[in-house]
Amino acid sequence: MPKNYKLFLYLGLFLIFLLGIFLIVTSLSGKPATSPGNTSTSTPQNTSNLPDYILSSDEEASLKEFVKNFVNLYNTYSYEDYSNLTALGDYQTQGMQEKTLAVIENLKQTLPIGYSLQTQADENTFSYKYPSANEIIVQVTAQAREVLSEGKLAQKYKINATLQISRQQKSWLVDDIKINQ
């Protein structure tokens, strides 16, 4: 074995040392811990250019709860029972309320008798993008159970909900919601 293999050994260990330093420096520079997961295609993808805010664990947990319940309520209704939709007025922006009313009106006209839809979001699929201090984009996957008409079997499928949430007076208000099947 050549007498200079020791040289090559000492060079490899130096390179590993440099990699370690690199990694340490990188972690300390604030890179997102998680990447936006299943976001809808409509979700703006401009976060790559700006450094995102990072939620604390409590904030993230709270936001998860908020998004989960909102998605569940928003996507749970039945024929002539849109109370969950109407009950979310306190958590919607004015624009979102109008969109909701439009959805309700559309549902009133389109849903058949006996139609019902129940949604259960999975908070483990929660991801967010926090591009600005008062706006956050959240994605979550949910399980939907749909009965198209009375007497028919329910259909189950997954949906992806992307919510654009704004902060107003210490409260989250949904400014927009996109649900993709």
């Binding site: 709860e65 908020f66 002539e80 109370s83 409260s171």
Partner: protein
């Protein structure tokens, strides 16, 4: 004077209101069951002329003796018989005595005194309680006198006049006899005879009394002095019959006949002491020739059932001084028998001193003036007194008056035959000589007849001319309570007086007795302030003019005065009161005294200025009915009595109707009260059914009382005494007590019906509104319940909609729920009840869409689209409620009011009426529409729920919406909202 007997018969028929239909109708209705203290306790029995006591069907004739007896008489103390407003009869009742029997005698000439149609009224007076007074009314009617009756009456009058003339002649004869005997003072014992045969008679009496108690005495006068004494057995039975006929002659023809028989029986058994003493003094002078024959038989019968022993002693002294200048033949025979029987002890004493001091009940005075001059005075205790006033003048003007026959309890017949002839016979009694003391009689005579003071007085003081002495003695031995009285007086009158008295009809013997009552009544009238009525005045007139009353009773009166001289001295001023009004008041129950007093009163009551032809104006209405000069007062009384009587029949009928109505109403009310008592008694056993029957029956009877009662009267007619009164004429009056009970029954029935209605309604209401009975409600009672609901809902909805408690102005269609406006109220309420504010937000968000005025319909829209066209739709004018079918959430937190109530719920009524109970308080729609109240109640409920769930919000929501599988999604939704609320807060 009308023929009494004839007229009586006619009058009986005529007095009947409807004689043609009712022959035995009463002249005066007496029987009446007066209702006092709720009981009919007074019944009067009437006995007429000793007839049987009848309650009705009796008749009263002029001259009848009417006895009224009854248990109820003790209530009254006076009885007054009014005729034409005049007090015809007056009696006072001694209420302290038992067995009251009131008697009075109807005057013979009563038909002459009153006009036909005059109101007759028998008044029972309770002076202590005028309300108990009773008036028994009838109408006085007089039959039209036929020609035959007129003739008979004239014949009777002529006959009476002849008899009176005979009596005068007899008197003259007696005077002559007495004159022949001279002054005859007599002192006779019981049953003794004031006669010349007194000793012998006394002896006979004694013997008779000793033997068998019967005594007979003859009257003979002589100049001897005798004492008669005897003993007998107590108990008195006296029968007395007096008949008198007399004939006499003077210069002209004076004829008459007097038959007088005195028959006295004294039967004594037991121990009776009777002492009678008397004296007769007679002085007479006769210058003419007179011839008289007097046969007097006096028999009296008195029976007492007392037990007594009798010792009869009599003494008599007869002094007679007679000087006669003519020839005279006199025959006087007397037969006196008396019997005293019984056991016990009775003492009767009589003393006679001259003409005055005699304790006797009868005195007779015969005085004559003319050829003979004499005076005889006799006082006995006989209850039969005769007075003969005979006057013979030279011109042969003869008049006499005879007053006798009183049939009260004694029958007396006196017969006397007298033949007298004298050419010029003038008898002037020398009263001053005979009547030494100035007795009340003398005064009275002077007062009443001042023109002839010596005539009246002797007449009063004269002894009974014939049998009076013997009879008087015997009667005098009879105790007063025997109440056997027959008095007779004959007074000689001067020619002048005779002429003055000539126009006056000589009264019959009965009238003399009747007149007692009239005078007595007049005296009472005067005493109590009544003005003398025409009747009284007529009485007075007759007293004055014919001495019928005064002279007729002077014998007895003088005796009475003598007997009671000491006692009655104080009464003399009363006696001498105004004309026609002797102020004597006698108790009804003491007739003998009354008679005596009345006599005195009569004597005193003779108005001196009254002349027979000078009829006072007050009298004219009675004498001349058509006279326009009738004093108005005199006319008014009968008018007042007949004011409402267009005619006589109607007057009687009106009275009968009134009485019948009274009787009928009393009977009806008593009967109804009995029924009422039965109703009350049967109320409980019949569970009030009797009350219902009583109310219905009472109403019918009340409303149809006339028809019902009169229908009953058709089956059970009125008593006969009410005549032919038609039921239609009677007015039925149900008394207040009966009416009050009927009203009470009606009230009770109405109350019971109200209770029944409420009870039934409550049952129906409960069935219709209770979930328990929901199946029943939906089946058998569906119609009824819907009817009730519709009635209730229509009014409730109208009421609710009219309240305007909330409007739809705040409702913005399409807006979402926002609790932002309630943030402060939510936070304060949550803090108050220590709960999470998000709970209240969730409730609001899920229940009310965040609007306080929302009324949510809980009916399933698919089942009742007509009721809930849009759930959660707020109220609007086109919102149709159906509170009976749907539940409605009210207000901010949607507190629900259920359609049919239930536990803690009430059925919908109206907007403000509480319909739901929460935590022991009732709330209505208005309350739930208040957001503060609504939130507060919600917070309170969740506070309780959290407490029970140990703070588990999901459990609290589950309790709030109902912990069932159906509600699980509702709970999940609320929990999602709750978590959303909780997580919406930003860091």
């Amino acid at each position: 004077m009308a023929d009494t007997s004839t007229q009586n018969d006619t009058q009986e028929e005529e007095l009947s209101p409807q004689a043609g239909k009712r022959e035995d109708s009463d002249t005066i209705a007496i029987r009446e069951p007066f209702n006092l203290g709720g009981q009919d306790r007074i019944v009067y029995d009437i006995s007429v002329d000793k007839g049987p006591k009848l309650t009705f069907g009796w008749k009263i004739k002029p001259g009848s003796v009417v006895e009224i007896s009854g248990s109820g008489l003790d209530i009254y103390d006076q009885i007054i018989l009014w005729i034409a407003g005049s007090r015809e009869e007056y009696r006072e009742i001694d209420r302290s005595k038992d067995g009251r029997t009131i008697s009075f005698k109807v005057r013979d000439n009563i038909s002459e005194l009153y006009a036909e149609g005059a109101a007759a009224e028998l008044e029972f007076v309770n002076s202590g309680n005028a309300q108990q007074n009773r008036y028994l009314k009838q109408q006085f009617r007089i039959a039209q006198e036929t020609e035959e009756q007129k003739k008979q009456r004239k014949v009777q009058e002529e006959s009476d006049r002849i008899k009176n003339a005979a009596g005068i002649a007899a008197e003259q004869a007696l005077n002559s006899t007495l004159a022949a005997a001279g002054s005859v003072p007599v002192s006779a014992g019981a049953n003794a005879v004031a006669s010349s045969a007194a000793p012998e008679r006394a002896r006979q009496i004694n013997e008779e009394l000793d033997d068998d108690g019967e005594n007979t005495s003859d009257v003979v006068t002589d100049g001897s002095e005798q004492e008669v004494s005897g003993t007998g057995v107590a108990g008195i039975k006296t029968q007395e019959t007096i008949t008198q006929t007399a004939t006499g002659e003077t210069d002209n023809v004076v004829s008459g006949s007097i038959n007088q028989t005195v028959n006295t029986e004294v039967r004594s058994a037991g121990q009776t002491e009777t002492n009678v003493s008397g004296s007769v003094e007679s002085q007479s002078q006769s210058q003419n020739t007179s011839r008289a024959q007097i046969n007097s038989n006096v028999s009296s019968s008195t029976t007492t059932q007392t037990q007594a022993s009798a010792n009869v002693s009599s003494s008599g002294k007869v002094e007679s001084q007679t000087s006669s200048g003519g020839s005279r033949e006199t025959k006087i025979s007397g037969n006196v028998s008396g019997g005293v029987s019984g056991s016990g002890k009775q003492t009767v004493s009589a003393k006679a001193s001259t003409n005055r001091q005699v304790n006797a009940q009868t005195s007779a005075t015969v005085s004559g003036q003319g050829g003979s001059k004499g005076q005889a005075g006799l006082q006995t205790e006989s209850e039969v007194s005769n007075e003969v006033n005979a006057k013979a003048t030279q011109n042969q003007s003869v008049q006499n008056q005879e007053q006798i026959q009183e049939k009260t309890k004694t029958e007396a017949e006196t017969s006397a035959k007298s033949e007298a002839s004298s050419g010029q016979n003038q008898s002037q009694p020398e009263t001053p000589q005979a009547q030494k003391p100035e007795t009340g009689q003398e005064k009275t005579a002077k007062d009443t007849q001042p023109e002839q003071p010596q005539q009246a007085a002797p007449a009063q003081a004269k002894p009974t001319k014939t049998q009076a002495p013997g009879k008087g003695n015997i009667d005098g031995a009879s105790p007063k309570p025997l109440d056997k009285t027959a008095k007779k007086s004959v007074e000689p009158k001067t020619g002048t007086e005779q002429q003055e008295q000539a126009p006056v009809k000589p009264p019959k013997g009965l009238e003399g007795v009747l007149s007692k009552f009239g005078a007595n009544s007049a005296a009472l009238d005067s005493k109590i302030g009544f003005r003398p009525t025409s009747l009284d005045l007529k009485n007075n007139e007759k007293q004055n003019s014919s001495a019928k009353l005064g002279g007729g009773r002077t014998g007895g009166r003088a005796e009475d005065q003598d007997t009671k001289e000491k006692d009655d001295n104080q009464k003399e001023p009363e006696v001498q009161q105004g004309a026609g009004a002797a102020p004597l008041k006698q108790p009804l129950g003491d007739m003998p005294q009354g008679d005596q007093k009345s006599e005195v009163g009569d004597q005193a009551g003779v108005p001196p200025a009254r002349q027979p032809n000078q009829v006072p104006e007050e009298e004219q209405p009675k004498q001349d009915k058509d006279s326009e000069k009738e004093p108005q007062e005199e006319v008014e009384q009968p008018k007042q009595a007949d004011d409402n009587l267009p005619n006589a029949d109607q007057g009687v009928r009106s009275f009968s109707i009134a009485e019948a109505e009274k009787w009928l109403n009393t009977t009806v009310n008593v009967y109804l009260q009995t029924l009422a008592t039965m109703v009350w008694a049967g109320a409980l056993p019949t569970l009030g059914l009797m009350i219902l029957i009583g109310a219905i029956g009472g109403d019918l009877i009340w409303l149809l009382k006339d028809r019902v009662v009169k229908e009953a009267l058709k089956r059970t007619p009125l008593p006969k005494r009410f005549g032919n009164i038609k039921p239609e004429d009677l007015k039925i009056n149900i008394n207040f007590a009966i009416k009050a009970q009927i009203v009470l029954w009606n009230l009770i029935v109405a109350l019971i019906l109200c209770f029944i209605f409420v009870f039934v309604f409550t049952i129906f209401w409960s069935i219709c509104n209770s979930p328990i009975y929901y199946p029943i409600r939906q089946t058998s009672l569906k119609s009824a319940c819907e009817y009730l609901d519709s009635t209730k809902l229509s009014s409730s909805l109208s009421n609710f909609q009219s309240t305007g408690s909330f409007v739809a102005s705040n409702n913005t269609p399409g807006s979402l729920i926002s609790t932002a406006s309630w943030t402060d109220q939510i936070n304060s309420t949550a803090q108050k009840w220590n709960i999470d504010a998000c709970i209240l937000r969730v409730v609001i968000q899920k229940e009310s869409t965040g609007k306080a005025d929302v009324i949510g319909c809980d009916c399933a829209a698919d089942k009742h689209p007509e009721y809930c066209p849009d759930k959660r739709k707020t109220y609007s004018s086109d919102y149709q409620f159906n509170w009976a079918q749907c539940s409605y959430g009210i207000g901010l937190t949607q507190w629900t009011i259920y359609p049919k109530g239930g536990s803690g719920y009430k059925a919908w009524q109206d907007a403000s009426t509480p319909s739901r109970q929460l935590y022991s308080s009732w709330y209505g729609i208005s309350d739930f529409l208040n957001p503060t109240t609504s939130l507060d109640l919600t917070a309170k409920a969740f506070s309780a729920n959290l407490a029970r769930a140990n703070g588990d919000v999901a459990s609290a929501f589950a309790a709030y919406v109902g912990a069932s599988n159906v509600q699980a999604q509702l709970v999940a939704d609320r929990m999602a909202l709750y978590n959303l609320c909780k997580s919406s807060a930003t860091p």
